[in-house]
Symmetry: C2
Subunit: 209 residues, 2 copies
Amino acid sequence: MEKEISQAVIRRMPRYYRYLGELLEEGVERISSSDLSNRMKVTASQIRQDLNNFGGFGQQGYGYNVQFLYDEIGKILGLDKTHNIIVIGAGNLGQAITNYVKFEKFGFIMTALFDVNPKLKGRDVRGIPIYMMDELEDYCAREKVDIAALTLPKEKAEEMARLLVDLGIHAIWNFAHVDLDLRDSQVVVENVHLSDSLMQLSYNIVKNQ
Amino acid sequence: MEKEISQAVIRRMPRYYRYLGELLEEGVERISSSDLSNRMKVTASQIRQDLNNFGGFGQQGYGYNVQFLYDEIGKILGLDKTHNIIVIGAGNLGQAITNYVKFEKFGFIMTALFDVNPKLKGRDVRGIPIYMMDELEDYCAREKVDIAALTLPKEKAEEMARLLVDLGIHAIWNFAHVDLDLRDSQVVVENVHLSDSLMQLSYNIVKNQ
């Protein structure tokens, strides 16, 4: 892909993918941009603009082929490949992520968890082993790891992220309450800030009152 | 507050709050918009524009008083009030959210979980009781509930959301893999789509290769 596509557009792609997946489940084969627009509550022109970034996919007056568009967006998002994920921190959040089998449907495979708590040694989460943190380096040398999910306290997140970069990890899915700054590396970071999301909710509650 | 402030600005506020909190922890009392800009990796003009939505807070050439700005943004976000949260679905994700004590620091108090699984009856998560779903209505009539966190499969999320609206809940923090559409009600919804976030990461991995 030659053209740089804005992250704002990319951020909307999973949502298209989700809605198209729902249409497929309902057996819908073809949809006009205006019907898709009504369903997704975005303008038809927004949809056309977004999809034009990737070369269109629609024919004027004929609508979109749902399966084709679903598959193409899947490819754009890299979902035609498998991504192995290790989870750093096997506390509740780490275990919750590991248990979320829906991710596997999209090609995200949890392969191991790591923790410092010796009580967790030898245990597993639905068959996925929990290793001790001192086994991380060997594991990364031995196995293909694409993504590390970081569910550590913020004080430990930065240092662990640096270690993961050194171990050759390409992407970090960060749940720690801090923005990881790894722009000096080639590593991709996606921050999930659950507190920020709660604060957004809280703002809207107060505003509504 | 008279003026309608865009959700894009509101979405950035928790991040300001987070960075200001870190500055406070480091003992920083005053910061210029350019120093804050460097730290947050946004332009100083963006910061000034964002904060001007709420009346400014800075004095030209004098910078921002960190504690004052922190407190004011906290008030804007409604963090000077306490919000009671019930968690619908006491599986791994529901329990993970409940265990995340950091939320309490910001005034979000988990008060109860609800599930249909009879094995969970009478159990608790760090002292917070798990009730059966048929106790939900009585509970909501009896207790102050501000936010319901929804950690159900998407097939059940919509119906549960409707029930919660009928029970007088003001806000839903939705983790189900579906956009809840409750715009015909007064209820505030914040969707957390973890799969979308993973797909965004996957896109950036593929793009980088």
